[in-house]
């Protein structure tokens, strides 16, 4: 620190500060651009007919994306049914056996699972389910998405339950309540907000996931609710329409993007509110 030139030091400080502020503001510009373009290009499409009609072939106007919206919800439900019970039970195990023999390895593998690229999970679902059944199916897509949800649910459940004080559990046990009832009726309800947030966050993460669906759910231009048949979903529809050579399909993809972003960001914001309102506090 040079006492002779305090002004230069203060000048440097100011320059640095404006530099940091400028870089931070530039970093959020892409978000504003993306939202701006999607709203500008997609807003004219949002109508009841767009949401309830099936897609039409190129050249015919007035197609909708109802099959993709239904498909997305079916895929998410399959993923939730598969991953929520396993995720919560594993989370309880990890929170209850902090120093257990297996806990270290299990939390290590949960970390590793979280890092698996989504496209690799798609290949797994293909090998495990599509190949034996012999055709692309909604079930295989749901399994792929479920594997992606699992680590997030385990982590958030574990982190929430660790925060709950032992005295609560001890009080319940001292009253003679069996261990499993203590966990299910005291500990789990106390941590419900954290677990709900975890589920919402993981759903919003997989709702826009496309890569594992390319060769599992595969897409289907018709309405389908059979889980053993190929099924369409919003992200998949955006991908196929975006890389198609037709102007009309590009326009449809902007509309679908607006709906998808709406769903994902709403889930994100709801989970924020859940965290804020019902935060675990002791």
């Amino acid at each position: 620190m040079n006492d002779a030139k305090p002004t230069i030091r203060i000048l440097k400080d100011h320059i640095f500060k404006s530099f940091i502020i400028a870089l931070s503001l530039v970093a959020i510009l892409p978000l504003l651009f993306i939202l701006f373009y999607i709203i500008r290009n997609g807003i004219s499409f949002i109508s009841w007919q767009f949401i309830t009609n099936l897609p039409r072939p190129v050249g015919e106007t007035g197609g909708g994306i109802s099959n993709a919206i239904i498909g997305t919800f079916i895929l998410i439900s399959i993923a939730c049914i598969l991953s929520i019970p396993f995720g919560i039970l594993t989370g309880i195990y990890l929170a209850e056996n902090k120093k257990g023999k297996f806990s270290y390895f299990i939390s290590l593998s949960v970390d590793a699972l979280q890092g698996i690229p989504s496209i690799v999970i798609g290949i797994l679902a293909y090998i495990w389910i599509v190949k034996p059944i012999g055709r692309f199916s909604a079930l295989s897509g749901g399994v792929a998405l479920g594997i992606m949800m699992l680590p997030v649910i385990v982590k958030t459940t574990e982190e929430t339950l660790i925060l709950i004080p032992d005295s609560l559990k001890e009080a319940s046990l001292a009253l003679g309540v069996p261990y499993y009832k203590t966990i299910l009726k005291i500990i789990l309800p106390s941590g419900l907000s954290g677990i709900t947030t975890g589920i919402l966050l993981s759903v919003s993460r997989i709702a826009g996931e496309t890569a594992p669906l390319l060769f599992t759910a595969f897409g289907n231009p018709f309405m389908s609710c059979n889980i053993f048949q190929p099924i369409h979903s919003l992200p998949l529809l955006i991908f196929t329409y975006a890389i198609s050579p037709y102007e009309e399909w590009h326009a449809l993809a902007w509309g679908a993007s607006l709906i998808l972003i709406g769903i994902v960001l709403t889930l994100n914001i709801i989970s924020k509110i859940v965290i804020k309102k019902w935060k675990v506090q002791f």
Binding site: I10, Y93, P117, I119, L124, A211, F215
Partner: protein, 298 residues
């Protein structure tokens, strides 16, 4: 007899079932990871047997001639990810200092941090779609100005999209470690008359260096496996990339492009081997990042 009954009763009590259910699902989670490795390994055996280590160094990818080498994709993956991480690093350190040091509370910081969080929530297919229709024409204009072959799509464009996608992750890690810097050493420096800039330069940055490195590793792990956005803007050329403005392919994008149409045992198995390589690289990088962070926060 009553002893036997006791045993049976114990075996079927809710308590016992509950404990076993907990243990069972925990073991299943661990088994899932092992099964992942084993499955990919078994499925890629034909290609491992046929090509051996040459698979990694092979430059030709020719499904018609049954000749498979992954070098163009490994090179593409490393190039795009490293460029993306370098771009993202500058911005995420700035954001972390902004939120961790200059504006810890207040409307300004809430605004920036929620914007950054929203950035993390946007699905990757939408990044790709936006990139394809908005960013690619812009890049093409720039390329025409600088007299480079105006593809628009290519490794450079993919890196820009990737860097936008990973900024939230590296920024949140960097912010967390900046808040770990003990207040008393910062206050000591301020009391000696240091400016904010000097405190950041000489106290905070040296303290958080390893944490920021961990954040970069975690962001790199994400960038390596990112598929949709990259697939849509990288140009999908199966040759070794000549320069960063030309088209290329990454390990994830070649799988996305060709897996559904791959016919022939060796073709599929080569793609699965690429997936296996990608899995190993990302898991090693993620684990290293998490290890450094865990060591820091204790």
């Amino acid at each position: 007899m009553s002893k036997v009954f006791d045993k049976i009763r114990k075996r079927f009590s809710a308590e016992f079932v509950f404990n076993k259910a907990l243990f069972f699902s925990a073991i299943c989670t661990m088994f899932l990871l092992i099964a992942t490795f084993v499955t990919l390994l078994i499925e890629s055996l034909p290609s491992i047997k046929k090509f051996g280590l040459k698979f990694i160094s092979g430059k030709t990818w020719d499904p018609v001639a049954n000749e498979f080498g992954a070098l163009p994709f490994i090179a593409g993956t490393l190039l795009t990810s490293f460029i993306a991480v370098i771009i993202a690093m500058v911005f995420s350190i700035a954001i972390a200092i902004f939120l961790g040091e200059y504006f810890r509370k207040g409307i300004f910081s809430t605004f920036i941090s929620s914007m950054i969080e929203l950035l993390a929530g946007i699905p990757s297919v939408i990044y790709g779609f936006w990139g394809l229709f908005i960013l690619v024409p812009v890049v093409r204009e720039i390329e025409i100005k600088f007299n480079i072959a105006p593809f628009g799509i290519g490794i450079a464009t993919a890196s820009i999209i990737l860097s936008i996608m990973i900024i939230p992750y590296s920024a949140s890690v960097a912010r967390e470690v900046i808040t770990l810097v003990p207040t008393d050493i910062k206050e000591a420096a301020y009391s000696l008359g240091a400016t904010r800039y000097e405190v950041i330069r000489k106290i905070i940055v040296p303290y958080v260096r390893s944490g920021i490195f961990a954040g970069i590793l975690l962001a790199l792990g994400r960038a390596l496996g990112e598929t949709m956005a990259v697939t849509m803007v990288i140009g999908n050329s199966n040759f070794l990339p000549k320069d960063i403005f030309g088209p290329g392919n990454t390990m994830a994008s070649i799988i996305a492009n060709e897996f559904a149409e791959a016919s022939g045992n060796l073709y599929v198995s080569s793609l699965v081997e690429i997936a296996l390589l990608l899995l190993i690289i990302t898991i090693i990088i993620n684990m290293a990042g998490k290890y450094i962070i865990n060591r820091m926060s204790i």
